[in-house]
Amino acid sequence: MSWCKTMLAGWVALTLSVSHLSAQEALEKFPVFLDAEVGASRFASSAMHSVFPVGANLTAGPVFAFGDQWRLRARPQVGITFFSNRIDEWVTEQLLIVKLGGQVSYDAFYLGQVTFFPYVAADFNWVANFDAEEVGEGDDTNVTYSDSYLKGTGFSQEVGVRVQAREWYIKLGYEFFNPRLKVRQNIIDDDLTSGYLTPPNHRFNFNSFNITVGAMLSL
């Protein structure tokens, strides 16, 4: 929990300092925008994408500009990535990743109306793997969620390029993310009863290709 608090405090401090700097820059006319983007993620490892073929991601954050002609952009961001795998008619396995971090991009060059921004991003992630079960039918359908089978945290880094035309943009990136996830204790106990030794935690390869479509909205 102290990790989470430290991360949150750091992110708030970063946001405030960036916004302060940007406010000074804003005096020189550059407005603050809000990036909002949605897209798809596909795990790079075949083992992972055999379980979760594709996931959805959603990210948002204010964009601040610095430097010569405001070509350097900084964006504190929050986001979620969500993977789903239908196990049977009623039960769906879900993998939820909540992200908090930042992204830095640079206006490298342009071709006509299209501007190219190479970017790097770093996030702290909270990961949970659980089941969602539908109970009932029709309007009486309720969804109940199991306790997390696996959960953990970890840092991720992403590199890629953002291609922007007016307020719309597409991002293509590769994310490096290898979180160490803990398994629920009763799973360890059940495995042992069946004659299997299960380690308390394991590092997963969550590296992924991400493609997102977003808009830079005026605040």
């Binding site: 949605v38 798809a40 594709v54 795998n85 696996l150 398994v183 997963f204």
Partner: protein, 357 residues
Amino acid sequence: MDVCRKIVMLAIVALLWCCNGKDTLLDLYPMEPVVNPEVGVLIDNNRIIHVDFDGRQQISGVTEAGIFMTTDRFRSLDFEPHAWQVSDDVVTFGDGIIVHAQAAGVSFVLQYSTDDGKTWATFGGSIIDERFLAVGSVLPVQLSVAQDGAIWVLCQQGAGRRTLLYRVDLEQQRSALVMEKGEALALDFSFADSLHGWVLYGLPGEGAGRARLLRTENGGRTWNDGAVLEGVEQPAVAAITKDDLLVYYPDGVVFRSADGGTSFASVVVGGRIVACQAVSSGLVYALLENGLAKSTDAGATWTVLDAFVHGISVSGTALDFHGEHAGVVYSADRLFTTNNGGQSWEVLVYPYDYVFK
């Protein structure tokens, strides 16, 4: 632009719900089988009969369907199919030898194998004296391999007519009667060394519940009466030293003598003794119905060991320790080993479901 946004959202939702995967994330979580699934060959439609442990890495043994050997604690094992040819006869296992007594007419024949039961040789001479056979059949009760390779054979004639103890020298193909007790019912015997030994017997007239002891200090040339133990049935005797011995019963009662069997005192071991092994003059292990107990003072006081491994209680029907630290405990479908005198255990064979697949 609004249309574009809707198209993107719909595409993502469609991707999410149409592309379901196989298995689950938990299936990618690593887990190791506690025992090598290949050990199923020892217990799947088979059973472990005897295990030999060299005190280091090598474990070999006999199963009903073949013989096995491992030098790396069953991470790999060699198994040679060979049917166990001994049925319900009296059998004993020594260092590199298996001996069994098979009933034949009014007596029995002694067969032995030095290749884990693949081939058997028969003791050529007659073991039982003709004068005994003339008055009735003699059946083997128990066998034991002495340290010098000789075979002790405890026999019973009739239901309480006579108890006999023979010493058989396989190399010389000779046998010698070392004890004869008339009007006695053979129960058990044990030798601490080549000279000091005890025979437990009962009197037919007294019925079950009373056991008497005979003691020799000269390899069976002479025998002296020892203590009479009351209120006991189906007793077993375990020699520890030339003076120390235990007599124990299936109901959990244990008596110890420190004077060669002249007198006994009750001791608390901590459970019903299944098997007992004296590793040295002071150190004794007792395999209990549930767990294991250890004595470091020749059986006077006992400590029940916390014998658990991976949630399983260490249990079995036999034990084989080499020195103070290294030993195995096993039964027909399981095998445990320790390297630190029973402080911690490793399970090498166990009837987990995956072993039978």
